[in-house]
Subunit: 742 residues, 2 copies
């Protein structure tokens, strides 16, 4: 009996086992799941996110910054090449590197001062005696300023040339400033001194030239940058973050971004180059930046009537227009200002350093994270704060990859761009070379240039679709110095708005300009992009930007003492941007919200209707197509979102998930129109293009309307109608891409 | 014992069953395959293809043609509306219709003669006596020509106007023809008579105007169209397919395609419209087509020297230049030709009819099949032969769908375009309205306009990537009248070439022009496209096109008697195009060959190197970047093809298959450059754009080279270098899209 029972049990077990095996392997009609079925359904691993956050290390970031700022690394300099090699070494590291890293070189048009003939600005009297010479270098406070590779302050792309004339004060060098000044005097043959701010750098010269001005000086007014403080004995760096009197903001004086000789083409060695004389938007007359130490001497000696109250600055004297020229009571009486500019433009090889982590499930979908590598001098904040953050993100992620602990669903591309300071050149050339591939495959672009302007709060800008993923990420990161407050809550405290859909939320800015390397991704390629940093408490400073910006004082010493002691803000940015990156790379359904995009379009529409509808009606132009388009977009976005929310996408065919993700990824492509802005180089995005009208609404419409209202010309009103059609049809087109075929 | 055994058996069976159930459903670790796993791996079902081929029916096609040609159906006419309703009824049929069908309307700029003031051309003597009046209608042979809706022959978009002057003969109205004629006389104030062919319709007037010519007549020379035959008593229709003496080819005389008032925008009611005066490329002087019956009277009366041998035509007289004017011995001596043209341009609503079969697995991938619906008169061949074929394809496929027997993997969109005859307007507006959606999702566009020009052999043109799928399809279809010969073999017999990869194969043409509705898909959107028809045995006729083209003789009677009795060629085209359509819609891996594309680029490169390399070197322009780009493309194409051939894609993740398919689908997008051809409206494809240089190579390069060689100007040579960079970088960009990320 015992034996029988056992036999029965064993027999039954054996039969059961055979049955299980048959059931598991033998029944083909629905088949067993291929191994990839689980892989394709994977979503973000929250424990991996937590591990990433915990591994982001302030000491590592600090070490990165020290290494990157050892020497000045202006684009194509020896120091720049040193940083190229450093990036490659880090990204090719066998323990913390990426799957692959390489350099991509472009031959780009750059402008430098001549080390053998430094630019010189002097005050000379009628017998050609030099009464005053503008400092040619910044005053050293540490060894950093004494480094032989510190480039002399200059205006990149200012023409070389000699200009001499009576000085006038032209406020910020805006068109209206010169027009105002021109009412009181003949500007022909004068040299204008202008403040930074208000107009683009090069515009200060472009706006001056029609009035016959022959040269322009630019300086940083202590009121705009130093909250009025001026004394380097007690007040400015090295005593604080404020700009010393001899500090000079360098910069590119171009209007357009990308390599100027190869528009819309990658600047390879053999590429066709336009003649230099065909470049548009360069300063037509010599222009040179100077420190406020010298500007003080010049401005306070000016004669003529007092400039308007709004033109006055931080000096303890009245800012006069100039007679033109200096006041008769001044020692400079009857003297000229003489500018001798020896800048030299030349084609040089600049490198991007690229690194990749290959995606496991969708290698043909890219999340791109980038920052420029080149600085004007040591560039501790601009851009090395961002590069230090990027290197810390790649270190943590690279190690997980090398250890086999993680591989993103989608591919991640890191870009360390070259020659940004000269006009976003490296990133622009990269997007020109790989235009189609990037357009077709890129989910999003994350830009972290200056990671930390100041340590008060997050600042983020981007397409409305990225708002939600930034919110998600910031809710998981502690605000620096505030362990129990998230970056999100702290941000909301500083900058917020009330959203119809979400209530009170932090305010995400828009990327309407070309301030950093996101420009080509946003405006030329129409890729969902964002720019992330830590920034000021505006109740504590009115500085236009952190005061050492583009000067020889933007050093490790400055950054570690005055911008982010302890590097906790750097860490918060690394955690935030890295978290966003992981979510974009790993989420099953892309964390891009078309409904948030609809909200922004509705706000733009409301503004447009309020500002324009009545006047357009009077011109026989109906704004209804735009209203219909935004409504179409809204209902398409709501429908798509409903599909996403109501589907069990992890158990659906991966092609359905891909379909939805493609709709989200490609949304912004529908807003591109390569012909809408013929006068704005590589601005194709009809929602976010730059605008001079200063209205928070559709830029083509706003600018055309402002122009038509001013001129009253029927052809200008026709252009308003044109832009109304362009933007309406773009939004309708975007709505179509959010909609299923039938 | 019996009971025990049974118990044992049943017990064992029960245990086994439980085991099977556990094994099948209960073991989750590798999971059982979701139901979609098999669906996503499905490929073309060859038995379904065979069923499709067998169901395509000549009688059905014949019935379609009879219905479509009952009345004239010029764009926006009552007859056109009748065909709209017919298409909708067919595509919405509950047994043979599609999943959905609807109309899309555009308000487009069309040009018509004035029925109350018919255009009039006369010969008048100095005392204003009318000596001869050109026929205003074509001679009726059947009731078709007597239909009141037959539009008077006219040149659409000719300006209205009155012109009077001495007649001259200007051959084909090419630039060189007028230049030649101008050598012998002053052309100011003359009327030029020209033959169809050699130059675009409108160009005959555009080229004339600078010489002071005030009006142009156009006629069809019997040598070019009728193999010399002229007599309607015995030789021409209704005795044969040849054009009767009074037959007149109508046509659009525009240079650009799409709605002329809304460039790059969909022509909706509210869309911004440019002023009519801003339209480019229209005839600047009145132009009117006439029959050869009248041309004979005019030309044979001309005075002056005999025109060159190449200018002589089919009339039994010498074609003289004109003195200017008629010969002194003629009854027309000293008489003028007077043209009174009353054409009227106006905005009218034109409809596309759209129909869709929704895809099962990848509904967001589209195969588009289209033809225009509008004709000039009855349009039996142009376009109703194609529409009859399309309707037969939708009938067979629609029934399979309605019966639940088949549903394509990808979505199929059918387009019955409006207003093609006026400049491909319906298809162009459709692609402008849905630009982004179509760019992102469209696999291919199949155009079958005139399905049957004649019944000798297939003719097919397209991107090189579609060659293979057309070959596959044609090998499965019997050539009409040749049961044991395939369409493929018959085609190869008529038109062939030797391919380095494939040996002797039929010659696929390229779509370099804007001859039918493929234009916007090829040139504006960069979608792999093809145009398929049956055509002539060129050993039997030199007719420029089938002789009733665009006349009142293009009727059901004509088509069924002289073009395709029995409709077997229609059937062969329906089978071929339908087979291609099914393969594009159902193949697991898209049947598009990047290696065949590489072969074409290599041939273009060889031609360019042979024609240009030495001369470019002399100008300091290296052709090496183009050589490198084509080599890059070749190796990327070979690598991708190797992946396709060596992978077991049916068992791979569907995202891998999708990745490869996206690479194939999007290949042509990389060749688009919206700025490369600023003078060619909506030509953006740098490989297939139209070219005037007449060389089988890269069009931008060829045209720029021809211009530079003629002018010798450095700026023109710079433009050659520019186009070399444009095409090289486009090909490099395409190679990148064929390559994996790392």
């Amino acid at each position: 009996m015992m034996k029988q029972v056992l036999l029965g049990i064993f027999g039954g077990a054996a039969i059961m086992t055979v049955g299980i095996l048959i059931g598991h392997y033998g029944i083909a009609k629905s088949g067993s799941a291929p191994s990839w079925v689980n892989d394709v359904a994977k979503d973000v691993d929250e424990s991996m996110v937590q591990q990433f956050l915990s591994e982001v290390d302030t000491t590592e970031i600090q070490g990165n910054l020290q290494e990157l700022t050892k020497v000045p690394h202006m684009a194509t300099s020896a120091g720049d090449e040193q940083t190229v090699k450093f990036m490659l070494q880090r990204w090719q590291d066998s323990e913390t590197g990426l799957d692959a890293a390489w350099r991509e070189e472009y031959a780009v048009y750059l402008s430098f001062p001549d080390p053998k003939n430094p630019n010189k600005v002097t005050v000379v009297n009628p017998s050609d005696t030099v009464l005053h010479t503008i400092r040619q270098t910044e005053k050293p406070y540490t060894d950093d300023q004494r480094h032989p590779d510190v480039v002399q302050p200059y205006a990149a792309y200012s023409p070389a040339g000699h200009a001499k004339g009576k000085l006038v004060y032209a406020n910020q060098g805006k068109t209206t400033d010169y027009a105002e000044l021109n009412k009181t005097m003949d500007l022909r043959g004068t040299i204008a001194i202008t403040k930074y701010g208000g107009a683009g750098r090069g515009d200060k010269a472009i706006n001056a030239e029609p009035y016959g001005v022959v040269g322009v000086l630019v300086y940083t007014d202590p009121l705009d940058m130093n909250d009025g403080l001026m004394s380097d004995a007690t007040e400015t760096y090295p005593h604080s973050w404020y700009l010393p009197p001899s500090g000079v903001e360098r910069g590119s004086y171009t209007r357009d971004y990308g390599d100027l000789l190869t528009p819309y083409l990658a600047a390879k060695a053999d590429t066709y180059r336009i003649p230099e004389s065909d470049i548009k938007g360069l300063p037509p007359i010599p222009i040179q930046p100077i420190g406020f130490e010298d500007a003080y001497v010049l401005i306070c000696a000016l004669g003529g009537a007092a400039a308007p109250q709004e033109w006055q600055g931080g000096f303890n004297c009245t800012y006069n227009f100039g007679a033109p020229g200096f006041d008769t009571t001044s020692t400079f009486n009857n003297s000229d200002v003489e500018m001798n500019i020896y800048n030299n433009a030349t084609v040089k090889n600049s490198s991007n350093v690229m690194g990749v982590i290959r995606g496991s499930v969708e290698p043909d979908r890219y999340v791109i994270y980038g920052n420029h590598r080149d600085s004007w001098v040591h560039g501790a904040i601009d851009p090395s704060s961002g590069t230090s953050v990027m290197l810390e993100i790649t270190r943590v992620l690279g190690r997980m990859v090398k250890q086999g602990k993680w591989r993103p669903r989608r591919s991640i591309i890191f870009g360390s761009w070259g020659a940004e300071e000269f006009g976003l050149i490296g990133s622009a050339e990269y997007t020109e070379e790989y235009f189609t591939m990037l357009s077709e495959r890129t989910i999003a672009y994350i830009n972290v240039d200056i990671a930390v302007f100041a340590n008060a709060t997050l600042r983020a800008s981007g397409m409305p679709s990225v708002q939600n993923v930034i919110f998600q990420a910031t809710k998981q990161v502690d605000a620096p110095g505030l362990d129990s407050t998230s970056v999100y809550d702290n941000w909301k405290r500083f900058t917020n708005r009330t959203s119809p859909a979400h209530g009170l939320i932090p305010r995400l800015g828009y990327l309407t300009g070309a301030g950093s390397d996101y420009a080509a991704f946003v405006h030329h390629l129409g890729i969902a992009s964002m720019d992330i940093s830590y920034t000021y408490d505006r109740s504590k400073t009115n500085a236009r930007i952190y005061p050492a910006y583009h000067t020889a004082y933007d050093t490790y010493d400055y950054a570690s003492k005055f911008i982010d002691p302890g590097f906790f803000s750097h860490q918060a940015v690394a955690r935030t941007a890295g978290n966003v990156l992981i979510r974009l790379a790993d989420s099953l359904v892309l964390p891009l919200s078309c409904r948030d995009y609809a909200e922004s379009l509705e706000q733009y529409l409301d503004t447009a209707v309020g500002l324009y509808e009545t006047k357009l009606q009077a011109k026989g132009i109906s704004i209804e197509p735009l209203k219909r388009a935004v409504a179409n977009f809204r209902s398409a976005a709501d429908r798509l979102d409903e599909v996403i929310q109501s589907s069990d996408l992890a158990n659906e065919t991966p092609l359905k998930v891909r379909r939805i993700n493609d709709q989200l990824m490609l949304l912004d492509r529908a807003f591109l129109n390569p012909l809408a802005f013929p006068d704005k180089y590589a601005f194709r995005h009809v929602i976010w293009a730059s605008s001079s009208a200063g209205k928070a609404t559709f830029p083509g419409l706003a600018d055309a309307f402002a122009k038509a209202e001013l001129s009253g010309l029927p052809s200008d009103w026709a252009r308003v109608h044109y832009h109304l059609s362009v933007v309406s049809q773009a939004i309708d087109g975007a709505a179509s891409t959010l909609t299923d075929v039938i």
